[in-house]
Amino acid sequence: MSKWLPKSAAARRWLGLTPAYVMIGIFMLVPISIMAVYSFLEPNPYGGVLPEPSVAAYVKLFLEYDLEDNLVFNPGYINIIFRSFQLSIMATVICLVMGFPVAYYITLQPENKRNIYIYLITIPFWTNLLIRTFAWIIILGRGGVIETPLLNLGIIDDSLKMMYTDGAIAIGLTYSYLPLMVLPIYASLEKLDFRLLEAASDLYSSRFQIMTKVVIPLCKPGIVAGCILVFIPCIGAFIAPNLLGGGKKLMLGSLVQFQFASARNWPFGSALSMLLLSAVVVALIFYARSARKKEYIQGTA
């Protein structure tokens, strides 16, 4: 063994992992630190930042200067954050309600068919999300696929005004991230021992009770993973909110994008991103907890 290598096995293990730590350090911690630092600086009106410390970005989240230069409470951004969470939770719930039966159905198929279905589920990812979201404008929009036949048949006599609503955003988000719900639920259902379902029905369970008492508890880790995988990109999404919400109904993601692009307020954008990051971290801690519980069940199996 080389004399340069550390003696203890633990130290060698650390040494072996060094490249990974360097990568994580450079490509994750450094950008996040830059973002954290920027959020405490003054904005440069021409883009970028001025090297002067300031908490203005965080103040701006809650307060604004009125005409007499007094700080007053401004609910505008809070409302956007609130709506982001609301829409993201809504999209997550819809994804769950739609995704679970799909995953369950796929699990019940013969093995060779299952792979085909999973392949089909992932097909949308082969096309750009922007283009797929534009498709929804054609579907929902004025003179679109839904409206035109109804208008022609005389069932409605004015536009349904489906575009540029919270509903349109929720549809867009659900559509974008539904596969991310189906896949982890399928992965956990696939591991489910279906003989347990027979045992449950033998012990006087109705179909509904088999679901609630056996299937759902046993694939909870997959459900939680799916919810997080959908919720996190939803809350940072800006394509669906911008295109289907018309940029009027802003969400956190579009707000951040707006700050870096048109508004040229990098510190504020960074502060919003920090907020987003904390939401994600909270969600991941929640996931880690439930995953640990699952490990406890399976690790001892």
Binding site: D193, R195, A199, D202, L203
Partner: protein
């Protein structure tokens, strides 16, 4: 005649009917299981034992015939509507529930009051001697412990019939023997009809009131353990249960209840007549090894004595299995106990006397 708890009438089961390879798992099987009976389905792997249990439990639908549970046709009932519980071969305990929650599962689905659930679970767990592990997860239990939990879980809702699918097959020999006695005792105490599936003949003989021997979707014989062992109806049953010597030959004379057969080129054996045979029939004679007495000099107390030469010995501890070459291409398996000092009574190539009574040698139907 006691009330039948399960009546299986001409039941057939075909898996994947209409497909390329339909599997006929059961072929017009009929049997009737009495109330409070310990009934065993015995047969080699793939003979349809599990299929029959699954039909009774309701996990599969019959392809033909009908099954009656206490006189009631049950084809239309879901598994959850049948007062039948199953102890699965693989236990199928719920991994996300504690031992106590597993045992209480059926009671809770039946909407029993809370205190009754708690007390029944307690009683069941102490019955299977698992009360000290009530809070464990199934995955933290040994195979034998899981088996007991599976048993307690199936017994807790006090079903009228308990179906047990090879519940002891995963256990080691010692534990299996203990569980045998415990199961048998449990069945006596609870008075529940047990339908027990096994491919272990010792298990079947030790525990059952009656045994159905199955092969390839057919029932070969139904009877008490002694009937099955002593009077097998055909070579399959005789071969499957216990060890046997089979001698193929031709009947050359019949006199009262004694049949005389020619075996090999010139040997003549006399056997008990078990049915309608005629001179000239090709038959198989059957003789249990333990019915043969091996001695150095001729044992006058037996009806038949012949001489043979020891050709092989298998030492089994409490006894030794001898293969004796009788000449004329005939060899017989027999047993002898080791002597007081532990040495075996005969050695290879010893010339010994082989004796058996007339009633021990039987004619089997072809």
């Amino acid at each position: 005649m006691p009330a039948a708890s399960i009546d299986v009438r001409g039941v057939s089961k075909i898996y994947n009917p209409g497909s390329q390879q339909p599997v006929k798992a059961l072929d017009t099987v009929s049997l009737s299981i009495a109330d409070n009976e310990f009934f065993t389905l015995l047969g080699p792997s793939g003979c349809g034992k599990t299929t029959l249990l699954r039909l009774i439990a309701g996990f599969e639908q019959v392809s033909g015939g009908e099954i009656l549970l206490f006189g009631e046709e049950i084809a239309h009932l879901q598994p959850s509507q049948r007062s039948v519980n199953t102890v699965f071969q693989h236990y199928a305990l719920f991994p996300h529930m504690s031992v106590a929650e597993n045992v209480g599962f059926g009671l809770e689905r039946l909407k029993k009051p809370k205190d009754e659930v708690v007390s029944t679970v307690k009683r069941m767990l102490s019955l299977v001697k698992m009360d000290h592990l009530a809070d464990r997860r199934p995955s933290q239990l040994s195979g034998g412990q899981q088996q007991r939990v599976a048993l307690a879980r199936a017994l807790a809702p006090s079903p009228k019939v308990l179906l047990l699918d090879e519940p002891l097959s995963a256990l080691d020999l010692k534990l299996r023997q203990t569980m045998r006695e415990e199961l048998k005792q449990l069945q006596r105490e609870t008075g529940i009809t047990f339908v027990f599936v096994t491919h272990d003949q010792d298990e079947a003989l030790a525990m059952s009131d009656r045994i159905a021997v199955m092969s390839e979707g057919h029932i070969q014989q139904i009877g008490s353990p002694t009937e099955i062992y002593e009077h097998p109806v055909n070579q399959f049953v005789a071969d499957f249960i216990g060890d046997s010597n089979f001698l193929d030959g031709e009947i050359i004379a019949i006199e009262d209840d004694i049949v005389t057969c020619k075996i090999g080129s010139e040997s003549v054996f006399e056997a008990e007549n078990s049915g309608n045979h005629a001179v000239g029939d090709q038959v198989t004679l059957f003789l249990r090894p333990e019915k043969i007495s091996l001695t150095h000099s001729t044992d006058e107390s037996t009806d038949n004595h012949r001489r043979g030469k020891v050709s092989n010995i298998v030492y089994l501890g409490n006894e030794a299995a001898y293969t004796v070459d009788m000449g004329d291409g005939i060899s017989l398996m027999a047993q002898a106990r080791p002597k007081e000092d532990g040495n075996l009574p005969f050695a290879i190539d010893d010339d010994i006397a082989v004796g058996y009574s007339n009633r021990a040698l039987r004619v089997l139907a072809k």
